[in-house]
């Protein structure tokens, strides 16, 4: 239903909207990944989260390594173009810092599940998973028969997170939000969730003529907006700053070792305030 959007500090937005035990989706398909918000979740020591994301990226590696998550729903968990997510692997392979339950899908499945959640449906139906071993290890992948043709189709539960967190380019002063460039699955993640937090590069008098593939989310679809310039770094914000590819490469070495990882997190996340949105090495 409709919401009364508020402009909050990052600490207040995360504090009020993300609760221990929640199912949390922080989305962004390579682009506009909400790092600042993820770091605040870590600083506030949220626990037992079920994290949802098509492509668990460095931010989920960090959340998992810092013990925020008990479960991960995902479809591709790597460091794009670089290799493994070592903290994700350590949690799955060795249960460090705590065991991590995983629910594994394909991109087509998660994308359809978000879309079904946004559409208020309990399930997504797709031509998917045929011949793969994923249904063997994921009981949320089932098959139904089309009543008209008899064709067999995959069915998975829709995704309806307790809270979705995204980063966008702009909000206007009424609280309407615009994102552009590669828009990924963020609109669906916001519309599928009970609560929605959006960090933005800037708050502007009006949204400006948006580009062709822009997404506008009306103010009444959002609970909290946080002005967090640089909040997607080291990923990128189309029209604002580039992807910090060097950081993605450097993360491989930082994250490979538990103590190096913890040191880095202490210096660059825990000991920083929630006002410093852009973390750099």
């Amino acid at each position: 239903m409709t919401k009364a959007v508020r402009f909050l500090s990052l600490a207040d937005a995360i504090g009020e909207c993300v609760r221990d035990g929640d199912t949390v989706a922080m989305e962004g398909f390579t682009h506009l990944i909400p790092f600042a918000a993820g770091h605040e979740v870590i600083r506030q020591g949220k626990r037992s989260l079920t994290l949802v994301r098509m492509t668990p990226d460095l931010i989920y590696d960090q959340l998992i390594g810092m013990g925020c998550a008990r479960k991960l729903i995902f479809s591709w968990g790597g460091n794009p173009g670089v290799g493994s997510l070592h903290r994700l692997r350590d949690a799955v392979e060795n249960g460090w810092p705590n065991p991590l339950e995983i629910e594994e899908h394909s991109h087509a499945g998660v994308a359809a599940a978000y879309a079904a959640g946004a559409a208020g449906l309990p399930l997504a139906v797709l031509r998917g998973y045929v011949g793969t071993d994923l249904p063997r290890v994921n009981s949320n992948i089932r098959f139904i028969d089309d009543p008209f043709t008899g064709e067999r189709l995959a069915a998975i539960p829709s995704l309806r997170p307790d809270v979705s967190v995204i980063h966008a380019q702009r909000a206007d002063r009424a609280g309407n939000v615009l994102l552009e460039g590669i828009v990924g699955v963020q609109k669906e993640a916001v519309l599928a969730a009970k609560r929605a937090v959006v960090t933005v590069e800037e708050i502007v008098p009006d949204l400006r003529p948006p580009s062709p593939n822009s997404v506008v989310l009306p103010r009444w679809t959002i609970d909290a907006i946080v002005e967090a310039p640089g909040g997607a770094k080291p990923s990128y914000a189309h029209g604002y700053y580039k992807r910090d590819n060097a950081f993605y490469a450097a993360w491989d070495a930082i994250s490979r070792d538990r103590s190096t990882f913890l040191d880095w997190m202490r210096t660059h996340v825990l000991e920083r305030g929630s006002e410093s949105h852009a973390v750099q090495i």
Binding site: E104, V130, T132, G181, I182, N213
Partner: protein
């Protein structure tokens, strides 16, 4: 024509893969070597090829190889960019791709791909990144090309986990599952090209790269690999192909993830 010392096995592999693409193909491009091969094709013999990345970028013409599937370059040079749910629903599942171009961690004699797990699923030895777009690329594209470096460890008799279905147990397994697409029709490695046997669907060597012996291939294949009756030699990269490929990689960030 280049002599073998003039190019690397990786360059041979990317060039051979690029040549398999046609000017009117609509190609679902995986990141890494598939992306390099697809863009090499676009910059040489297939200028009108449509390249699509799963980030939603349709008809993209990047000047550099993207490091990730969602680099801004892909959006900025695209004919149009759609949302990720639309990409998978209307475009991939809608059956609009002539070719899906995948990499692999493990591939077996029937072209099944594992990018999920080594060891038992609940107690994995190595947790790999997972399927991403590949499971439905493998089932929805008209045909699938795979590009992968050939080792005993990556070319296995039977993958431990089927992330992307090739020909299953071979024969008519695809048809029995209701799949009407062709499945993997070409595997390009640093040693050779392999194609599925018409009947059994086992991958057999159909072309050997210059300077590679049958023993090299046998030694780096985890099953008793067979050679086609009319096996040919892969033409080495042309000077022009090498120049375009090297320029492309040189201007890309860290080789566009091809390393």
């Amino acid at each position: 024509m280049q002599s073998r010392s003039d190019y690397t096995p990786s360059e041979m592999m990317i060039t051979a893969a690029a040549r398999a693409l046609k000017n009117d193909d609509v190609c679902f491009v995986g990141i890494g070597m598939p992306s390099a091969a697809c863009n090499l094709a676009r910059l040489t013999h297939a200028p009108d090829i449509t390249l699509i990345y799963e980030s939603g970028t349709i008809g993209t013409k990047p000047q550099v190889l993207p490091l990730s599937i969602g680099d801004p370059e892909l959006c900025e040079t695209a004919l149009t960019t759609v949302s990720v749910p639309e990409m998978f629903a209307y475009w991939l599942q809608g059956g609009r791709f002539t070719v899906g171009f995948l990499g692999a961690a493990q591939i077996d004699r029937f072209g099944n791909i594992n990018t999920t797990i080594i060891g038992p699923y609940e107690r994995p030895k190595v947790r790999l990144p997972g399927g991403g777009g590949a499971p439905e690329i493998a089932s929805s594209c008209r045909e699938v090309f795979v590009i992968v470096s050939q080792t005993q460890r990556s070319f296995v008799p039977r993958v431990e986990f089927i992330t992307s279905f090739g020909f299953g147990n071979g024969g008519d397994h695809r048809q029995r599952l209701g799949l009407s697409t062709l499945g993997p029709s070409l595997v390009v490695t640093d040693l050779c090209l392999m194609r599925p046997d018409a009947e059994t669907k086992e991958f057999v060597v159909t072309s050997i790269h210059a300077g590679v012996t049958r023993d090299d291939i046998t030694a780096r294949t985890g099953w008793p690999v067979r050679f086609s009756g009319d096996v040919t030699q892969t033409p080495p990269p042309e000077a022009d192909e090498l120049r375009v490929l090297r320029d492309l990689i040189a201007r890309s960030p860290r080789g566009g993830g091809t390393s």
